[in-house]
Symmetry: D2
Subunit: 304 residues, 4 copies
């Protein structure tokens, strides 16, 4: 019986790097968690233990750090593309490179009403993400965000659902809806083509986030599914560069706490924010003519 | 422009349930973290917000709890199959069900040399896992373990690797090798067939774990890749019921601490156990004639 | 030999509660993690197992939830005082009550430039805290914040330190300094008196935070100790109501990454943000005439 | 107005170190998380920023690593005492040293029924701890364990408790009781004396753990308080070297899941293991003639 080494990759996960721009007195900061993974013909490392084709994960890490200076980090999408291209073009056994990045956001400290030149505070829970793949089929950029914690205290219903013998949930037409959004969108790329030319990574990121927050806030929600659909399609409507979007949203339950038992008026003001379990809704929305994704959605350890 | 709702599922993630068997004075315990996810035609929940086809995640949770009594938890594989089949066969809009389970292991407290009837201590870091899929194409059982933390203090080398301008890692022929194993193996199932008949879930779990630990310990390792290959193929050699195995292993680096600087003899005895970054090796090994996996490897939130 | 039950308390830890104010279309939100602990003569619960004097922790939880409506949550300090007083005055065996609160902060979603009435995004990493003690010696309010993650990319030195045979650290006159501030300050209270009268809890919180951020940013730091001293004394200078302040600051190391090895210019722009170990500086600064703290600093599980 | 720097310490927290003994083919392993904190006259570091008296935390870390070889780690108590004495006796400005240690436990891999010489699996969740203080008043050793997760499925009651208007909890005479024990015990030390002479650190650790597990299992529990009292006094009864013991036990609630709603027999077999909130019981038991603890219980960041 023969065995197939059917799917494999290796790399360095979660290199925590901070890049400071300090060419002027007003510094800039980029705070990253970078994972690299290489794909290619590394079968001998498994079969015979030979490392002759294996670029050490330590080397991948060194390169990732050095590239924050050599190529800079204008955006994580640009940086990730540069790094992925390097591995594929410069390291002979590598046929595909995957770079996954979390970016932690900072805002300038405001001192006496003025933004400070070189002091920052961590901003929000939200993490900006990028997942770049470069291989023989082309270049793929998936941008996104995760841990965007958002809550609305009304404007959400859940009723008319399917009922069976295990169903005890009451219907509601006014509930708290809260989630920690995890959204990733894929940019168009002609097969074998280059996605980079002229994409405004920062602008689209800001726009996509604003659109999703607006839909979440303003839609009278009949279900989290409906809200996600509106968020996703609104992003696709606004940005033709985006061909596919995946949304994952835990339904962070806020249960009405029964204070009527204590003779206290109960009208939807006191909630227990429960940890587990949580509902989980996952959906992918794509343009009908979206080009093939190939391995673009094949995650490593950095993101999932 | 039309959009496609191309891939979607919903369910209740991470219901933490404990099932006690107390029919005799000697109790038994099963400690589970259960995630359910349903697949099917739920497009209207997205498009119009209608929940008419949607079995609430709360109902899924109720069913999962009740089934620990109704069907019991002889093994997580058997329990997961029963639960998945229920959703597919009893709930009309459901065409596929996915059940993901973590099982936390306990061992009996030993009091004055005797195992106690109803007191347990949590055992190890290791978590036993199962991921069951039932849909129109058949039934699929993936068993596994994660967080099996294992370390060897010699018998591991890393040398002869590819070198480029970013490579600074020295070669070594004697290092600490440590990982937190995450392994999942898929059982054979004829298309549309039933995997359950006669599989010894507990026995194969114990055997697969023992085989992997033995390979890790006894192979003179030239690379973590080689160790994984030996672990995976040894499991396939021993268990014809298993057709495919995925291994994910973070290389938990233990760096030699330079105590020679302080005039202290340095000979591989003092290590810094670093948190991040870590190497990460991922590989899938399959039999040449393995049946198609269909959606068996499509994970929800419970496992990844 | 007799044993003393010398120090004991019990309560309900980490009740996660969300209070919505929805009297007008513009809702308000308070998101809390509340821990209660009761002190008193509960010896019989230990010695004989009698629960006659024990108010269940479940009851404490119910009370804490109900009080968010009965008394409201104008501030966590006011809410905590009301709750603590209730337990001491209404529950006979209770001689002292301790309430510890974490408040998670939200900011309104901004839709098309306008703040939304009932949708919020979680704000920052920073958590506002309060620890209230009411007992026979008086009422004590400790306010504070934790996980305020702050970083400066210059303006920090570390040199001229004590050197011994284990010292290998080079001196530096320009480094990144980063920390996750955990600061708690105690308000004045005459013995047996009432601290509440007229204290502007929200105003002082905002002011103390602004003062500390300013000191962190603007002081040329010779050591984290010096920075903490300036932060703490500046708060005491500005707010006579505060009599004592405790500061705990992990030194989150950012190590210069050696990219000169790769022929790349190295001038303090690329850093490895290490996880562990970290330096840890802890200091308490008090007014000379600060009243006794009694049990005010005796923490339960909510904060530490 | 003058301010007092009333309480301060600094050090290096959470150095993760692994010490391998490899003098013979059968290796031994010690896996530690070490925190050092120094106390003394470091006021100038705060007031003027002068570091002349400050031994860098980096140096403390170097020393801690080197001492695992120089002095060895026969036990964490012995190692911690050596390290604390070093700082107090060799570093002039240091008047007190605090060493806090977590030890992660491993067990040998068993291959074909035989313990392996150099491969281990991580053992249990339990962490062994030590907190050593050496200062002008003497030497203090606190040993302990944490995260010992223990559960009994019967033999636990909770009834006859105090009831008020917020009490809704039903009485029970048969419930699941589970906790994650955090226990620390202080060894006797004559003031200014040396605790080390002849104490069997490993033997007492094993004995104390076995005693506590036995009491937890065999006592018909009327309350967690009563169980803790029996555990603590049983340890004091057995070990005259121990003068004081602190027990902290979260009541990890297991709620009966209502499956009778689904027509399924409900008799205490199906439980929801809830995350938060949890009851929390804390108690200290001391011998009447226990010597003064001075700063022995003043924790740094390693333990709490």
């Amino acid at each position: 019986m023969a065995y197939l080494l059917s799917d494999h990759q290796y790399g360095k996960a979660e290199s925590r790097m901070v890049r400071i721009y300090r060419d002027t007195a007003r510094h800039e900061i980029r705070d990253l968690n970078v994972t690299t993974a290489l794909r290619g013909d590394f079968a001998e490392a498994y079969l015979s233990g030979s490392q002759a084709a294996v670029l050490p994960t330590d080397t991948q890490k060194n390169t990732a750090f050095s590239y924050t200076k050599e190529k800079g980090v204008a955006t994580i999408e640009q940086y990730g593309l540069e790094l992925a291209r390097h591995f594929v073009s410069e390291i002979e056994p590598v046929s595909g490179a995957r770079i996954e990045i979390e970016e932690f956001l900072w805002e300038r400290a405001v001192i006496d009403g003025v933004e400070h030149d070189h002091t920052w505070l961590r901003k929000g829970q939200e993490v900006r993400t990028a997942a770049i793949t470069v291989d023989a089929t082309g270049e793929y950029v998936i941008a996104g965000l995760k841990d965007l914690i958002i809550l609305k205290s009304t404007g959400s219903e859940f009723a008319g659902f399917l009922v069976d013998g295990y169903t005890t949930l009451p219907e509601t037409h006014d509930r708290v809806m809260a989630t920690a959004l995890d959204v990733k969108w894929r940019y168009a790329a002609a097969d074998g083509g280059d996605v980079v030319g002229g994409v405004d990574w920062d602008g689209i990121y800001a726009s996509a986030k604003a659109i999703m927050v607006k839909e979440f806030a303003t839609l009278q929600s009949l279900a989290l599914q409906q809200t996600l659909w509106h968020m996703g399609t609104a992003v696709l409507d606004a940005h033709p560069e985006i061909v596919e979007i995946k949304l994952k949203a835990p339904n962070k339950h806020h249960f009405d706490y029964d204070i009527a038992r204590f003779g206290v008026e109960q009208k939807g003001e006191v909630f227990h924010a429960d940890d587990r379990p949580y509902g989980l809704i996952e959906a992918t929305i794509a343009r009908e003519d979206a080009p093939a994704a190939h391995d673009a959605w094949k995650f490593s350890a950095g993101l999932a």
